[in-house]
């Protein structure tokens, strides 16, 4: 049971690779990606979500509080390109087990 920060990032799917690259640099960062989300108010215009126009993604990441600032500094310029949003909340991590199978 220890404190973490919860980041919610909304962005255009084309930036997904860059955002996850940043998150992967962090240590003990956990994130989940939700695709095909309809987002409104994030960019200038509300964009209808279809295979023809753009696709929005929603990322929920948890990271140790001391890393939050560093990650945000790298994510901010990515969001600036298309317009995107990021929100921070405090949370408590309960347990995160690692998978044990591996080559012996």
């Amino acid at each position: 049971m220890h404190a973490v920060n919860r980041m919610e990032i909304m962005s255009d799917a084309v930036e997904l690779g860059k955002i996850t690259a940043v998150l992967n640099q962090g240590d003990r960062v956990t994130y989940s990606i939700l695709r095909n989300v309809s987002s409104h108010g994030v960019r200038g215009e509300s964009v209808e979500d279809s295979f023809i126009s753009s696709e929005n993604i929603y990322i929920i990441a948890f990271c140790p509080p001391e890393q939050t600032k560093g990650l945000l500094e790298k994510i901010r310029p990515i969001l600036n390109k298309f317009g995107g949003a990021c929100f921070i909340t405090d949370a408590t991590e309960i347990k995160s087990m690692r998978c044990v199978g591996s080559l012996s």
Partner: protein
């Protein structure tokens, strides 16, 4: 112009289902084709059309006619965005002008297919290698668009900074985006497997084709009608552009088609390729490479104005013109 042609064009299932989709949006019906079903049909159409084109190419061989057609295709795909850009610059900033220009330089596969069905209905022959022309015309406009942005974009700081790192990405996006890759790959596979492959795949890629097109156009009607509300933001200038540009491009393509002695069917398809605008491959590329441009401008013009215009009025109109000049 021949009114019969328009009527016989409209009175076929794919076009009527397109209208049904639009009607559903206008009356606020909850009819929807949920993702990723439209994607399934679009992948199918690209695969089927590419494969058929490849097989036809393996039948005809790479003759002089084929090469001339390919040359004409590349030329048109490269110059359309250039003059479109300068027309658009009259009212638009360089980023939006370049993105829209690229959209109109590239092609719409569904418009092409609809024209093919229309010819099929009138028993007018056309050469299968026109699909190769289609495949060739997908990409050049993306590159021309990017060059225009780099030459005419506000030469300011951060564009130039990123420019070097992004060219690789631009070329990859132009030639290796999903739609282009599947289309070109299917052409090559059709070419390699020829009659043999055709016999095996025909029930899937040929017999289902018309039905899949019908289903897909139902969805296109839904999507296009939703885009129409974005046209308000677009303004009169862009709507006029979206209606006149296909006419201009078709008008320019026909003399070329005539000079290189295309058949009437081929000439129609060539005109349709030049007149149509991309609403899938190019917008996807432009969003990545020219984020300064507003997607709703280039998507809504291509999809809500030029696409319906071409499939309803354009195709029979261009054929009337061809009938006039070729005979």
């Amino acid at each position: 112009m021949n009114l019969d042609l328009i009527v016989s064009n409209i009175l076929n299932p794919p076009i009527l289902f397109f209208f049904l989709g639009m009607f559903a949006v206008w009356v606020k019906s909850d009819l929807e084709i949920p993702a990723p079903i439209p994607k399934l049909f679009s992948l199918y159409l690209l695969l089927a059309i590419g494969f058929k084109g490849g097989v036809e190419l393996s039948r005809s061989g790479i003759t002089q006619d084929v090469l001339l057609t390919m040359l004409a295709a590349i030329v048109m795909a490269s110059i359309v965005p250039v003059y479109s850009f300068f027309l658009l610059r009259w009212k638009l900033d360089p980023y939006n002008a370049a993105a829209i220009a690229a959209t109109y330089g590239s092609i719409s596969a569904v418009t092409f297919i609809t024209a093919g069905s229309f010819l099929g209905q009138l028993n007018i022959d056309y050469d299968g290698y026109m699909v190769a022309a289609l495949a060739l015309m997908e990409s050049p406009a993306i590159i021309v668009g990017l060059v225009l942005v780099n030459v005419f974009g506000s030469g300011g700081g951060n564009r130039d900074e990123e420019k070097k790192t992004e060219w690789g990405e631009v070329l990859r996006e132009a030639f290796l985006n999903g739609s282009v890759l599947l289309l070109v790959g299917s052409v090559i596979i059709g070419l390699l497997t020829g009659e043999n492959g055709w016999t095996k795949l025909k029930p899937f890629t040929q017999d289902m084709f018309y039905g899949a097109l019908t289903f897909f156009l139902l969805d296109m009607g839904l999507v296009a009608a939703k885009q129409i509300k974005d046209l308000k933001k677009t303004g009169v200038f862009l709507i006029a552009f979206a209606l006149l540009m296909p006419l201009g491009n078709a008008a320019l393509s026909l003399p070329i088609a005539y000079v290189i002695q295309m058949s009437q069917g081929d000439a129609l398809l060539f005109a349709v390729l030049c007149a149509s605008a991309s609403y899938i491959a190019v917008p996807a590329a432009m969003r990545m490479t020219v984020p300064e441009a507003n997607p709703s401008l280039y998507i809504s013009t291509a999809l809500a104005v030029t696409f319906p215009f071409n499939i309803i009025v354009g195709i029979p109109l261009y054929l009337s013109a061809i009938n006039l000049f070729w005979s």
